[in-house]
Symmetry: C2
Subunit: 324 residues, 2 copies
């Protein structure tokens, strides 16, 4: 593999995307206190993070606003309550799921919005719908991104077709997503190689969103970064669904660009993340997530097992094997 | 880098070394209950683990036997109480620190011992003493190994001299040890390349012992394994000093040789590791260890910080920077 970076220099094309509220919202149904989100916003500014993702632009017809916190919907007014006009270098991102977003209603013109980047999340079988959405968002004036989820269960040839279609779309960035935290470095390197070839052909950027089921989220992120992947997702102290994501503190400690500051991240963990843990929020590497990751399965059974406060790991493993 | 393995096939030269009691002993001063060690022994047999390291062969002149559990000393009789004559495929290992072992007194002839492998632990400045020890152990009939610690603070040229000397010694295996958990994959790959060249020249095997300060213990272990490193250290649920080691459950889930069984490891964690955690033993990835790893420092200040139950991570980080 060619090496696009080394340990001493830095690549100005690297962009760090904080997904703490968006992926962490999957743990607490998006019920974050405003103070937490405000602290996070200022932490990201101080740390030199490039993008902060506030949550989803979910359809209020599909999801009951009384059953989720406001970051499930990311109303323009909710974001502005935190960021004002966001007169900073930190850009604002939201995610929009294919089939769960009233994008023609809820995504307004960029000139009227404080949002900078819209990331469309799709499975491989809904790529045409994702392209319709991402082209719409691009025409509305936003930076755009398509996150193709759960590729560890898709065939190489299907992924190739999807990448060709995305290459021809208006998206700026295509994300490699290890939804199940199942990919080993040599596997994710092969995917990165495949994605980067398409990126070169169509002048796109590639991003990486990893899950930590096998304690590989950070390793896989920096492995593909040195190959040329440039958008790196991370969350504070890994906060995210199941085993969580690539830890922001490790990315900040690793990157050599002097604009990135670890101190701000460490202090946020000390003050705000520790508080969430004390309040009982549970996420991070644990045996049930390790097992679903290892078996390339969706983490939902592990999330249920841990939520039920079960610890009979041996039985759980056997049940997962039966499912296969 | 050449690829010595892939995701589907397996390499019969891979040896998994369980260091749970030895490295975990650094967390609880080697006070493990016999039942724990017996369960671990049978787990390792069931799981197909190749070596189980019982602890250190420490000098009783230097260390007070009243201040440590028996696995600090690994008397022949202590091991035999667990394993009998060890009529199994699992081999028995002990570690011996240079300068802290009365090796001419305490290391008896192999034909009178149930121990198979003696691993000599050394810093780079005590290589000649390590070679004296390892040659002695080899002459006594044991399989042998030299673990060169803390190489992340040594120069490449010093490491090259050490490797040449070790190449010419009687040791069977030379270990690459990331004592501070500071090495990123591209760094450990360079070391592995350097070690493997010496191994090829002198017909030695190379091993890897990783620490998990930056959640890279597993990733670095499997990265160098695919390059040709064949002795892989791991501990149950990472149990080991500070941030702990490469998790055995992840290695068992990863290796494709059908002799390795994840189920036995999962059940040991469920029954015996969970009990240690409930009793209050603390180890594993945490912000203070991440910071010492990131700064390539010995974890002792992080161990003290956590032992003092402090959580002012921001101040701790600034204090570490002052030390540099």
């Amino acid at each position: 593999m060619s090496n696009k970076g080394d340990q001493i220099s830095f690549r100005p094309d690297i962009k760090v995307v904080d997904c703490t509220v968006r992926d962490g919202g999957l743990v607490n149904n998006f019920y974050f206190e405003d103070e937490f989100v405000k602290h996070l916003y200022h932490t990201n500014i101080d740390a030199g993070v490039d993008y902060m993702e506030f949550g989803y632009k979910s359809s209020k017809d599909i999801f009951d606003i009384n059953k989720f916190g406001k970051w499930k919907f990311c109303d323009e007014s909710s974001i502005r309550e935190i960021v004002g006009v966001n007169d900073t270098d930190l850009k604002i991102s939201v995610m929009a799921d294919v089939g769960r977003t009233d994008f023609k209603k809820d995504i307004i013109k960029k000139e009227d919005s404080v949002i900078d980047l819209i990331r469309v999340a799709t499975y491989i079988n809904t790529i045409p719908a994702a392209i319709e959405m991402v082209n719409y968002c691009s025409q509305m004036g936003y930076e755009t991104c398509v996150n193709v989820m759960a590729i560890s269960t898709s065939s190489e040839s299907d992924i190739n077709i999807a990448l060709e279609l995305l290459g021809q779309s208006k998206t700026d960035v295509i994300y490699l997503v290890d939804s199940y935290g199942s990919l080993y470095p040599e596997q994710i390197e092969k995917f990165a190689d495949q994605y980067l070839k398409v990126a070169e052909k169509y002048n796109k950027k590639i991003g990486i969103h990893a899950h930590n089921n096998q304690q590989l989220a950070f390793a896989n992120t920096i492995e593909v970064a040195r190959m040329g992947v440039s958008y790196l997702d991370a969350t504070m102290s890994s906060l995210g669904r199941g085993a969580g994501n690539c830890p922001m503190e490790l990315i900040m400690g690793f990157l050599k660009n002097p604009k990135y500051k670890l101190q701000a991240v460490i202090e946020f963990i000390e003050n705000d993340i520790m508080k969430l843990k004390e309040e009982g929020l549970v996420w991070g590497y644990d045996i049930p997530y390790m097992l679903t990751g290892c078996l390339n399965q969706h983490p939902r059974s592990a999330i249920q097992f841990i939520s039920d406060k079960k610890v009979d790991y041996g039985n759980f493993y056997q049940a997962l094997l039966d499912l296969e």
